[in-house]
Symmetry: D3
Amino acid sequence: MMLTPAMKRLVALALEEDLGRGDVTAAAVLDGDGGPARAVLLAKQPLVLFGLDVAAYVCAEVSAEIRVVRRIADGTLVAAGTVVGEVLGPAVPVLMAERTMLNFLQRLSGVATQARRFADAVAGTRARVVDTRKTTPGWRGLEKAAVVAGGCANHRADLGSGLLIKDNHIAACGGVRSAVERARLRAPHPLRIEVEVKSLAELDEALAAGAEIVLLDNMPLDVLAQAIPRAHAGGARVEVSGGVTLDTVGAIARLGPDLISAGAITHSAPAADISLDFT
Amino acid sequence: MMLTPAMKRLVALALEEDLGRGDVTAAAVLDGDGGPARAVLLAKQPLVLFGLDVAAYVCAEVSAEIRVVRRIADGTLVAAGTVVGEVLGPAVPVLMAERTMLNFLQRLSGVATQARRFADAVAGTRARVVDTRKTTPGWRGLEKAAVVAGGCANHRADLGSGLLIKDNHIAACGGVRSAVERARLRAPHPLRIEVEVKSLAELDEALAAGAEIVLLDNMPLDVLAQAIPRAHAGGARVEVSGGVTLDTVGAIARLGPDLISAGAITHSAPAADISLDFT
Amino acid sequence: MMLTPAMKRLVALALEEDLGRGDVTAAAVLDGDGGPARAVLLAKQPLVLFGLDVAAYVCAEVSAEIRVVRRIADGTLVAAGTVVGEVLGPAVPVLMAERTMLNFLQRLSGVATQARRFADAVAGTRARVVDTRKTTPGWRGLEKAAVVAGGCANHRADLGSGLLIKDNHIAACGGVRSAVERARLRAPHPLRIEVEVKSLAELDEALAAGAEIVLLDNMPLDVLAQAIPRAHAGGARVEVSGGVTLDTVGAIARLGPDLISAGAITHSAPAADISLDFT
Amino acid sequence: MMLTPAMKRLVALALEEDLGRGDVTAAAVLDGDGGPARAVLLAKQPLVLFGLDVAAYVCAEVSAEIRVVRRIADGTLVAAGTVVGEVLGPAVPVLMAERTMLNFLQRLSGVATQARRFADAVAGTRARVVDTRKTTPGWRGLEKAAVVAGGCANHRADLGSGLLIKDNHIAACGGVRSAVERARLRAPHPLRIEVEVKSLAELDEALAAGAEIVLLDNMPLDVLAQAIPRAHAGGARVEVSGGVTLDTVGAIARLGPDLISAGAITHSAPAADISLDFT
Amino acid sequence: MMLTPAMKRLVALALEEDLGRGDVTAAAVLDGDGGPARAVLLAKQPLVLFGLDVAAYVCAEVSAEIRVVRRIADGTLVAAGTVVGEVLGPAVPVLMAERTMLNFLQRLSGVATQARRFADAVAGTRARVVDTRKTTPGWRGLEKAAVVAGGCANHRADLGSGLLIKDNHIAACGGVRSAVERARLRAPHPLRIEVEVKSLAELDEALAAGAEIVLLDNMPLDVLAQAIPRAHAGGARVEVSGGVTLDTVGAIARLGPDLISAGAITHSAPAADISLDFT
Amino acid sequence: MMLTPAMKRLVALALEEDLGRGDVTAAAVLDGDGGPARAVLLAKQPLVLFGLDVAAYVCAEVSAEIRVVRRIADGTLVAAGTVVGEVLGPAVPVLMAERTMLNFLQRLSGVATQARRFADAVAGTRARVVDTRKTTPGWRGLEKAAVVAGGCANHRADLGSGLLIKDNHIAACGGVRSAVERARLRAPHPLRIEVEVKSLAELDEALAAGAEIVLLDNMPLDVLAQAIPRAHAGGARVEVSGGVTLDTVGAIARLGPDLISAGAITHSAPAADISLDFT
């Protein structure tokens, strides 16, 4: 994975906040660079690995003498106890890099693992689960890459790379029809017109106005069961959203939507447990 | 809360990643700045509020015309349905700021709420629950402030503001005694000497060497029950760590340690549900 | 216009490069802040104005004591001799800001003016002229806003906000059909599938594979005259590109494409002549 | 050419604005890094080459696996069809770097080519053509280097590296004499005293006051014909400025000035046509 | 004084390094913002004041609620015990800003005071004392401004704003004559040609080659006594340098040079003693 | 020494301020990169060396072709005339890096040398001399490292890594007792409680309240002679501060304190004289 300038700036922030004042413990109890060390990155739970490239970049920024060796490819589901990589270098810089490296790896693997759970929950249906813009501020690119590594897909990257008319836009425009028509006239041509609807009436209005994708927001399953085929009949793709969890995503998927978006993939993924063990 | 330069850099990253290419939807369906709007920040679950200062700074960076009015003080536990603040300004910049503002507020209130659960779980004991360095990279200062707002306390801020000898240091130094003695000679004087021990034998060695704080790591409850009074008898403060959860923290606290550290306060806190509703 | 963090960073670069070492002339010949001054921003040629918000931000960064007063709205075509704004403040900081302010204003108004020429050249046809990614590095957001102010439209903002399969992708995929099919399966759903074709044969292949937009690249007018209706018949939108100039754009537009993209709007727009005259 | 920190910050801005959200097309239609590729940088018009060092830095920032091979030295005039360099590396990062690399190269070669035209137009005279501060904001250092590569020379780099008293300074000081005298007393000693004059009367006043360089601004050719020898007789160097174009520069040069400054070298240079062709 | 972007970046570095992790003492012993406070900035030794604008900017960055009131103008020599300014605001942010504010003020006033000593030592002669590029890295602009406030003058700001041929250039060029001749042909015209000479023979060579300024480096007083009038007779200005101290500068000045440059003004100026006293 | 992101940002500032506009002299008198050069870093006075890693980083940022070879280890006291390192590379970039490299090296070696003087002055006593937060803004980490290299020790790194209750806190809290008690309850546990006292009465109050370290501020020697044993008897460590100089530090040390803090180590250390001589 290419690290963008924004990602590098996030790593710089992370290094500054943890070791900008040095490591008083290592300086007190070890001499010089502490001598050569070797440590393994160990998965302590089943997880989908993602983030070794960032971990390696963290190490490289701490010291040119650290080398990170990858053992497992990004996106692989590994069992607890798997060694996913090795870290070789002088003990002091490795200790200094340890926490920041792990914090990145645990969060990104946590997101990838959560994505895998969602992907598994819809397996066998036509739906694909996508992320949202509910990502950790500063982490958009990294978390979106972790989502893909886990087997889900990305919704728009930002406010500039997808056109999605939401309830507030509709209110301000005086209705679904008016909003969709404006978008068809004025939006950048590479973007499809997607509109959020909250009822069957709004859905009909959206289809009539020429929406290409309808986002069925917060509809109960029985309403979705009507809305989805009606939208397909109207020629639109269908995205479902609104409080989607691992418990509900399967039932939704079986109703036949094209896409299901879930903020929980990123905003509430628990960290995956990975440790760095010196050998 | 004063926003440090590092926090401002994180906000800049967040704004760039979401609206650095503008908002194609607002540009397509609204005219000009969209006209005056008013929206409320609504807690959709019980939560401990934290982060309105960051949310206000986000808005100010998007447009000098947005004003955020605080209704609830940081650190307050509010019921679902509480309006915690108001956002006033032209519709387009408010819509552009919405997601970034909420992403900060939801994560920080999530951490504060998680901290409150931990603090409540040890109420009535002498123990205080503290955070760790397992924070989201780039978010150290913000998450540590949220922990305090939620009623827990902060462990060291970084590798430079606390001396904590861990297992890897001990291995490299040839034993607990040697590591503690070096630290007593060489560490900055404002810092107490804290050392991690994994057994009663290591505990005794640490006490004999003059450790001021012992970190009892990953000990079962029955071992803790012996170790804690023994450490106190040796004149040391006692911190307990290792996979501490809301389920286990109460039982640990009742054994009498001074401090219990829990990475889960920060690394796995689910986002709190807060929305921005236009009125 | 909201200035994004990236735009502010560009202004910071610009200020550093011109006045980071101060202004030796003003320091030598004037005393203190030079006393109050008033200057007008004067269009010295017919032009479409764009960039006063940036100019005002430049001034504010140089000194909080400078005030920029707008006289003309962005996107307005003004005659030579029009006063488009006023600058009020102490003489020394105004002199220090002058060149940087003008450099932004001249380039952005130059782009807006060039865009207006293209827009005028296709007036009365169904085609809209769009920009490309051939913008001045560091200026993407500013120049794209100037294009809109001048009456043209924006193509994708960056590599992440539009899917456009070009000749090199096709070569690497083994053909138009294969590339389009992969994109339909794997691309983010908010994006339409656009593919560049260089011949009628490729056009047919693209339409058969389900392309939603076809980019007819570097085709002579007589080939375009066949390709455009054929693409429309196949249900696709049509973009034309390839060395489009003010001399050729009208003839192309009369053939009926939906879009014509022209790098020359941004990469070769001459600066508009605007001066700052003290009064 | 050494890339200064400011130049590197400009490149970072450029990369963020084009590929900060990744390349959705390459991700959709290619697998992994796309496999090894080789492409040539091809001059599609006669041009003076400048900017390969920046292009190589762009590539290196995108991926350490891309290698740029120079075929032609900076400042060389090449014929249409000349291969000026090669780009070797995995297809995906090369495609991601392509547009940014070309945008730098085309603009900088455009400036160098424009500079060459000006230099050629004054060949055989004693005049040298110099640039101005009318450069693209953020690009000062790069464009000034391109000017030299094209065969012209640099005027002052910024407000701190040359003393040039202009009409506004003169107005504020109460006259040419007073301004020049103040400058002689108070300016940094490494700088010559240059003053802009608009009439023969001002010229005489400047010479009497001890100006070392006179800038004859916006004078018609017949006035220049008197002013230049008079200035030389007074011991001053002579710079001519004011709307200088390729059409007028030769006639001015034949009147014998030392320097002719032309904003058009940088502010209105058309981009040179260079493509990246995969082989 | 306008703070340049570079100066603001230095202040950001300074704030991060001192209070990026907050102020644990204030947080522990005070409540909230600590309530309103008033403190005075007190000169504890005779000094030339410089830096209140930077101090005020530091405070503004820490909290918008702090106000700094100037009592004494920059460049004023004040007696010990003088109150030079007041700081008003909540106690906690004032305490957080205190050290950084004082560190800037003490260093900058230290430089201004040192400059005043040098200026006084040459009073009554025609020499002016100038600084060098031996400034604290990161502080160039600030220290050069302090030098002027103290009554000395600035040499070139950087490698781009003055042409000074030193011994190493001469060695590489094959002699003084060749170096000066190249410079006369190739240097930017706003810059005078200055050349360093170490002997009377080199001086003669420099004068013959047309040097406009000669830098007499590390010559004993008796050699200077011959060199200075000889240089003046040759039409050059004269700068003297090389280990100039307060003890030697007067005697040098009485020999009649135009300029004496002294690195000691900036690189070894002791901090001026200024305190912040709460009232 | 690992260079932190903050240190790298300081170097970037330093390079921009000196060579952001290039080197006009080298460009004028030399051709191309000037050809291969070799220079030695020469100590021109006895000094304790520190900073070669920063010097090497400076060179690497200027050009990848420069190589810095270390001859002497950091912290070594060398005689005048010692070659401490070599610089190899093309003449032009070496000349461009020279001044910035030396400015870092001279200041950091100046601090290390000053620290050595302080350390020597207390040799044979139990006291260790520590630095303060009176460091050059932007240089905190570098100067603290130089202090250690010179043989002194570090006090707290910043406001977050040490708890030190000063007179202003005491005033705001209503007395020493109250302040210490609050700190014991509310401070982060890794930090000892240190309190500044100005009289024997305050000392007694601090000891009674449980202070772990007392800072005896600005006490005359005869009062210190009473206070130090009294504090030790009360179980506290003792730090002495207040206008400590090389003249007074020895006498203070012989009274038996644990620590003596001296701002003069950093804020007024004269630069060490080091030159770069081409060979």
